[in-house]
């Protein structure tokens, strides 16, 4: 087991080097330039050249890349050029990561348990009205795009609706970030969680249906066990095994999802920073974001595999 984990971890640096090379090359050779974006229309070629020189952007690709890597290894991930000139990328990420983390935590906190619970009930009451209802919810949750949902919900929830003299709302404050317990979090977390809810309901339902029709459940029932014992102790445990994978990837994927949501609601998290960085060609922020995302994916993947060995004794790694 230990050898397996080490082997897997050794692949991480190789992967990071490859990803960083590609990302860096795209940044340098792609169209657009951070110093130009910084100057906007008020440009003068000699100033752009001078500032590029100060940042070292005039160096050849290899030198720039090696500089970046050697600085990164010493914990310096460069500085922002356009959006927060002079602030170090690590400071920016450190300030924004907790926000994204909390937002995603709230999104998961409501959607994950609810999704699993709905999935179980949906599987147990298969073909009932409840099941149809839940499946409709799943379709809705998977197919509604954030871009479409956001303005509708914001309009419905955050506006004062006037009907002549009678008016209701606004129900929820929106925009900005006041911590994970402030009501501002509700709309973005709801939108973020909707997809998770759908995926988990669907997967849990499928897994439960499969397990419930298997032989050992029939045996358990034949032994005369109470139904809640059958479901809770025997069926659920086995049904949860495939969910481990999805949980891992959902957590990793949520960070990508909060890209759009953060942008819409003006939440100062990693997602909105990355969005700004992409539009203004901030190489260093893009690099840091990509590398962190890659690392998180690799680690979560590994974690899932390890967890498998614990939840499913049949799995062994050499």
């Amino acid at each position: 087991m230990a050898a397996y984990v080490v082997r897997r971890l050794l692949w991480l640096p190789v992967l990071l080097i490859l990803i960083s090379l590609v990302t860096f090359a795209l940044g340098i050779y792609g169209p657009g330039d951070p110093v130009q974006v910084l100057m906007g229309l008020h440009t003068r070629p000699e100033i752009v050249d001078q500032v590029r020189k100060e940042y070292g952007f005039d160096q050849p690709f290899v030198i720039q890349y090696l500089n970046y890597v050697s600085n990164a290894l010493r914990g310096n991930f460069g500085y922002s050029v356009v959006k927060f000139p002079g602030q170090s990328v690590s400071d920016l990420l450190a300030k924004r990561f907790p926000v994204t983390f909390q937002l995603n935590l709230v999104a998961l906190a409501w959607s994950l348990p609810l999704g699993i619970a709905l999935g179980i009930f949906s599987a147990l009451k298969r073909k009932s009205w409840f099941d149809v209802f839940i499946r409709a919810l799943v379709i809705l949750g998977i197919s509604l795009p954030v871009i479409g949902l956001q303005p509708v919900l914001t309009f419905a929830m955050a506006r004062k609706h006037e009907f002549g003299t009678f008016s209701i709302g606004p129900f929820l404050p929106v925009g900005g970030w006041k911590g994970m317990f402030a009501p501002e979090v509700i709309l973005p977390a709801f939108i973020l969680g909707l997809g998770v809810l759908a995926v988990f309901t669907r997967q849990t339902r499928a897994a439960m249906i499969e397990v419930m029709t298997s032989d050992f459940i029939r045996t358990a029932r034949a032994k005369g066990l109470k139904e809640w014992m059958v479901v809770g102790r025997h069926a659920l445990r086995n049904a949860l095994i495939p969910l481990v994978t999805i949980i891992g990837f959902t957590i990793a994927g949520l960070f990508a999802g909060s890209f759009i949501v953060e942008q819409f609601y003006g939440i100062p998290g990693v997602g909105s920073l990355a969005f700004d960085a992409l539009t203004s060609r901030e190489y260093y922020i893009i690099m840091a974001f990509t590398l962190i995302a890659a690392t998180v994916y690799v680690l979560i993947n590994l974690l899932i595999d390890i967890l498998y060995a614990f939840v499913d004794p049949r799995i062994r790694y050499q």
């Binding site: 169209p31 440009t43 070629p45 002079g86 914001t154 929820l172 939440i267």
Partner: protein, 590 residues
Amino acid sequence: MSENRGLIAIVIVLLVALVGLVCVGIGAVVYCPQPGSMCQGLFGAPSNVSQNNPSQQPTAVQNQNQGQNQNPTQNQNPSQNQNSTAPTGNTLRLPGGSGLGGDPPTLDPALTSDVESATYIVEIYSGLVSFNKDLKIVPDLAEKWDVSNDGKTYTFTIRQNAKFHDGRPVTAQDVQYSLERAADPKTRSTVSPLYLGDIVGFNEKYTGQAKTISGIKVIDNYTIQIDIKQPISYFLAELAHPTAYVVDKFNVESGEQPWYLKPNGTGPYKLVQWDQGQLIVLEKNNDYYGDVKPSVDRVEMILGGGSGMTRYENGDLDAVRVSIADIERVSDTSNPLNKELDVEPQLSTGFLVFNTRKAPFDDPKVRMAFAMSIDTAKIAKVVYKDMVAPATGILPDKFPGFNPNLQGIKYDPEGAKKLLAESKYASGLPDIVWSTVGGGGAAGSDTQAIAEMLKENLGANISIEQTDWATYLSQINGTDVDFQMFDIGWSADYVDPHNFIGLLFRGGSPSNWSGYDNPEVNKLIDEASVEPSLEKRIEYYQQAEEKILQDAPVLPLTYGRDYWLTKPYVKGAFYPPLVIERLKYITLEK
């Protein structure tokens, strides 16, 4: 089950209703402790604000303590949060920055290249001179100045009563330090060469060839002398830009990363709180040296984006910038909000640029024919819902040197056809690509409308190509612009016609996008830029403007307008077209 599509459709409808209801429920429960919401009506008594505070009307000092002592993320109980309730005390609540919200990229004056940052910087810091409400240059940190006879040497006398927020008096050495710092290549300012590049020795320092700027001399503690290369008449306007503002050396070199999170400025307001993505709080500087003293004790700038209009109507904001979606509603005179509406001209013009280096726009007749086939008045009315005004010249209306006699390029499709027939492309226009900033999807309705007009009136075959902003900039910023035809908006950096006519149309200027190069116009611009008499200069610029319009390297499309709503108890608020100090003019009457 899945065969029964009708059933599923009904279920989906039910589901949407359920989701809505759940939201309303959660919303009501969570939002309820906050007074002023609908809960007061629905759930009886509002939660008691005074429970946690002996005084219902917190004074500014209490607010200040609250701001300094409480970490907002720990302040979870909305009932303690008086900031979002009805206005109390002497606190002004504004949308962040220029009204769009969001964190300012920087509060370092030397680096300020954007409106969002500048909005705070002009309140927190100050320069030797600044613009007053009427956009005239007035003394600021300098109480007076002398200009030598050749117009190349400025001697400033600094006020003896000017102090930094920490109480240290401002001296000529501080001014020198700030200007030297802005020029230092290590500061990596992209704006300082634009505004300070006329100072003797600036470029040598900026490019690392010299250690100091030779043109800046400290005469004594309160006198500083600045030499400029040419007797340019707009030098004082350049000095009014944040890049030239005074910073405190000890503050900058404090080692705090970055230092400007705790700026020690000299302006009428000081920064007391900056919660990124949430709130910036400014408090009045009681020691402010200026003649107009600030009145409002505390200004809260809300950084969270989103529905400012909603918050304004709910009474959580004292002013808001109206977006195009709400323009029609607030412009309706029967709407009570209409009385609170201010429409202010911006110093900006939108242009359609014809690249004179590319076919078919190398022929002035084709350019003129294109310009004559576009009905700018109709675009402003129909597409922009009158949110902008049709442009009649290059200089925006309300800009010094604006020529009210200009009629713009007249919409005349018949004349345009005739001109095209006389041009060297009479036998057939090549296909034309219009480059515009966009993220895919449909092009803006203005772009589509204009392309349609050109097609209808001239039979031009126009395809619209969208690029993102960074790519677009890398294309147009250069001497060899590849785009054939593109649209662009230009806003003034300082109030001088040179900023439009000189920068955009002088042959060889880096912002001369159309590649227009007319010796006559160049001569007029060169003469104007060194002419000391303002009236004469304006005359030169107006002549140049007229000639440019005849050659039509661009078609001026629109003049920008800003729409603001302000609560009636906010007195003295105004929305200048340039970023200038304005908070100190505001009083609250409640």
